[in-house]
Symmetry: C2
Subunit: 160 residues, 2 copies
């Protein structure tokens, strides 16, 4: 016997990182993120923020920067910098909203749309590769579990 076995119901005094969900989740997300970054970063020279902004515009059309931030779970500085970089590369344009001139309406250029059209199917293929060994039931469970945990984590943060 090399390890003390905690009594049933007693809290263990140490925590095994390998069994600790937040740790496992962090490691998993990092690896998945890396496997996707091989695509948009290595092959297409986009940061994660740029990739998310591009995906937002492709999905939502012409929208102000604030909406992109919300859509892509980015803060406004990240969006501002990603947008500046995408504009330099010619993948989007910024226009003032005539209705509210504080807003900058973002719009993909043909170059941006073409870039997105190349990346999106490859990204979806990678997602499908990752999910392939999971049964439909497991995929559904995973969706549910992620939603539950996300709400729970945000709740926990609010409590401090």
């Amino acid at each position: 016997m090399t390890k003390a076995v905690p009594k049933r119901g007693a809290a263990p005094r140490t925590l095994e990182l390998q069994r600790f969900m937040p740790y496992r989740l962090a490691v998993l997300a990092e690896e998945v993120s890396r496997s996707l970054a091989q695509l948009y970063a290595d092959r297409f020279d986009l940061t994660r923020q740029e990739w998310r902004v591009l995906a937002g515009l492709a999905d939502m059309g012409e929208i102000p920067a604030t909406d992109v931030a919300e859509y892509a779970t980015l803060d406004k500085m990240s969006v501002s910098r990603a947008v500046a970089s995408l504009e330099e590369k010619g993948h989007l344009t910024r226009e003032e909203d005539p209705g509210d001139r504080r807003n900058k309406i973002l719009r993909m250029t043909p170059s941006g749309a073409a870039l997105y059209a190349k990346i999106a199917p490859l990204a979806l293929a990678r997602e499908e590769y990752l999910l392939e060994p999971l049964s439909p039931a497991d995929r559904a469970a995973f969706e549910r579990i992620m939603s539950t945990l996300l709400a729970r984590a945000r709740n926990l943060q609010r409590r401090g």
Copy 2:
């Protein structure tokens, strides 16, 4: 009808970030990470790396830095810096391994053990709060799914 519905079997031309697993996973992991960092960072002034090193020593006992790196999925520089900081704070000591003097054996001090003893139960309580709404079946499924996806993501990266 505001959105085109792809034909059955046809690949969609755009990807909705909100349904894209790698994106959802990244957002979830970030929120879970934040909710844990409130503990070790805000309350106990540890970086994530320091917290992982501490957990490694608590779980594994006196081990060389290389083993901590493997245990905690950190690279050797991260371990080196976390260890230097923990040593400064008096939470661990470094000793040369008489068997192989390249090795530095890490050992928690009473102060480090006391710190860990304060954090670990709180960390486990946070994990339990997060998992609480999940059924035992969902918890088991989640474990399985995370293992499967991790292997898959590493595989994907190897292929490039």
